[in-house]
């Protein structure tokens, strides 16, 4: 096993690969784009999902069942990428952050989770609030939301992870390299076939300096921050998730 996997047998630790990886400006623009994406995603998805779940969890509305079917069907019946792309393009969202946010503003699966959580709140609370003359906004903001914080924090984390991991959709909707989120930058570096079919193998020089180790340096740079931040978030998150309730 002379070379084997360099991951497990580093041929001498060197900071050079890290310096080189950090010097790659694309990683920083990628980070910037991804942070915007995650932040935007949390705000938008949370708002939309809460509103949708609230409406769907009201028992008095006649149309609720119909609305639920209308929504659940989309989880399983989708038109495919090209028609979807045509719509997004038609709205002028191409090459914008909007293309990665608006079309995914509600994740139906998250919606179902949140709705079941709202439904599991005692009906009396709601009724007594309505008797006191509270409107829907008060009910939502002052009673439903505070009681569902644990589940909401689950949704936040779900959404953050979804947005963080997005790569396929951006690869189709973002046709401008400077707008690539981190995952696409990473893919570009890991595959690094930028110039393979090219007459001369341009970038050969790049490869000489970069070598195999830079691949791992880049992976570390792009992964470790999340893994470091995550346990801190998780402390709150698990606690709240465990006191929360999600009923089937």
């Amino acid at each position: 096993m002379a070379s084997g996997s360099l991951l497990w047998k580093p041929a001498g630790f060197s900071m050079l690969a890290y310096e080189r990886a950090l010097a790659n400006l694309a990683i920083w623009t990628g980070y910037g784009n991804t942070i915007k994406l995650v932040a935007g995603g949390i705000v938008l998805n949370l708002t939309m999902t809460i509103v949708a779940a609230y409406v769907l969890s009201r028992r008095l509305v006649l149309w609720n069942k119909l609305l639920m079917q209308f929504i659940v069907v989309t989880m399983f019946f989708n038109a495919g990428l090209i028609p979807f792309y045509l719509v997004v393009k038609g709205m002028g969202l191409m090459n914008t952050l909007g293309a990665l946010l608006l079309p995914f503003a509600i994740h139906t699966f998250h919606l179902i989770i949140l709705r079941t959580a709202f439904l599991s709140l005692p009906a009396e609370l709601e009724e007594s609030a309505q008797i006191d003359g509270a409107n829907h906004l008060t009910l939502l903001l002052h009673i439903v939301l505070p009681l569902s914080l644990p589940v909401i924090s689950v949704i936040v984390l779900y959404t953050a992870a979804d947005k963080w991991n997005m790569w396929f959709i951006p690869s189709v909707f973002i046709q401008e390299r400077t707008l690539y989120p981190l995952q696409l930058v990473l893919r570009e570096i890991l595959l690094n076939n930028a110039t393979d079919n090219i007459s001369y193998g341009a970038g050969v020089g790049e490869a000489a300096k970069i070598g195999e180790t830079i691949k791992y340096a880049t992976i570390v740079i792009c992964t470790v921050p999340v893994l470091v931040i995550y346990p801190f978030l998780q402390k709150y998150f698990v606690k709240s998730a465990l006191v929360g309730a999600i009923k089937g």
């Binding site: 991951l7 399983f76 495919g80 089937g248």
Partner: protein
């Protein structure tokens, strides 16, 4: 519902209707509007002529897919991979949640959770790259596997027989902790008194798990199961795309990767849409049957 009750309902809940509006608009715009684009499955779609200007050819694409050389292989691979996932990937989080539930020490509990959630945050791009390196001949997983089975150390992603195992195991590793959250949360809703009563009756912990914990989880399991059934033909093609190669097409090529190749690499958009449409129709059928079945068995239903 008659007209008057609709009017009354609308009047009473006008704010709710207002809140519902953005939600409905979202679903119409981004979920239903693209469905109309799926009509290109019945055409020879030529972008420059647009959807209405393209030539209509009826069911030709469906015929040629059903009669195509790879049809049965694709369908078989998709269903098998899905069933494996259903068997292992679906049950693993439930088992994990049950085990964590049984652990008494809060610190161990929290430690196990932290560790088991972590893989979910490593992106697919990185995970696939790592899987490739580890299963490569000379990679650590490959070394262990070779040592256990006495093989010749061939790249594991070049052995058709191993692909499903690698795929399902890596999915479990990445998602088990994450998906157990839902069950963990559901477990907390089981009233403590039930356990106390059981303990007084002298039920063992295993007995308690079978007769209290599992029934308490059942509604959640059913809902998750129904959702899962509806996705039988929809395995995660993004990961397969990053992992597969022609040698293992025999087991790794599934309907969705085929759709991807036809649509995005061969520019055969109409054909690709036809296959996608077929896929969706089967999914929907499965979902509806699973839901109906579930309602019959224990009154659980998605709607």
């Amino acid at each position: 519902m008659n007209r008057r009750s609709i009017a009354r309902d609308f009047k009473r809940n006008k704010w709710l209707y207002a809140l519902a509006l953005p939600v409905v608009i979202y679903y119409v715009l981004f979920q239903y509007l693209p469905m109309y684009g799926a009509v290109i499955a019945f055409q020879n779609y030529t972008p420059m002529r647009g959807i209405w200007g393209s030539e209509w050819i009826g069911l030709e694409h469906f015929h040629s897919f059903f009669n195509s050389y790879y049809f049965w292989r694709l369908l078989g691979n998709t269903v098998l991979l899905s069933l494996y996932s259903l068997l292992f990937e679906f049950t693993a989080p439930i088992i994990l949640a049950l085990l964590i539930h049984e652990v008494r020490s809060r610190y161990i509990k929290s430690f196990v959770q932290t560790v088991s959630f972590m893989p979910y945050f490593i992106s697919l791009i990185v995970v696939s790259s790592l899987i490739k390196d580890l299963t490569h001949s000379g990679g650590i997983v490959n070394l262990v596997y070779t040592w256990l089975t006495g093989g010749d150390g061939q790249d594991m992603l070049q052995q058709p027989g191993l692909f499903r195992g690698i795929y399902v195991l890596s999915e479990i590793w990445q998602r088990m902790g994450w998906e157990s959250i839902i069950y963990a949360a559901a477990l907390t809703t089981i009233p403590r008194e039930q356990y106390e009563a059981a303990r007084i009756d002298g039920a063992s912990r295993f007995r308690q798990m079978i007769s209290i914990t599992l029934p308490g989880l059942l509604p959640t399991i059913m809902v998750m199961g129904i959702l899962r059934m509806g996705r039988l033909l929809e395995v995660g093609y993004e990961k397969i795309l990053l992992l597969y190669n022609p040698v293992i097409y025999e087991t790794a090529d599934v309907v969705s990767t085929f759709v991807y190749r036809k649509g995005l690499l061969d520019n055969d958009w109409s054909f690709s849409s036809a296959i996608g449409l077929f896929n969706s129709a089967i999914n929907l059928l499965l979902l509806l049957s699973a839901n109906a079945l579930s309602r019959k068995i224990n009154q659980n239903s998605l709607w």
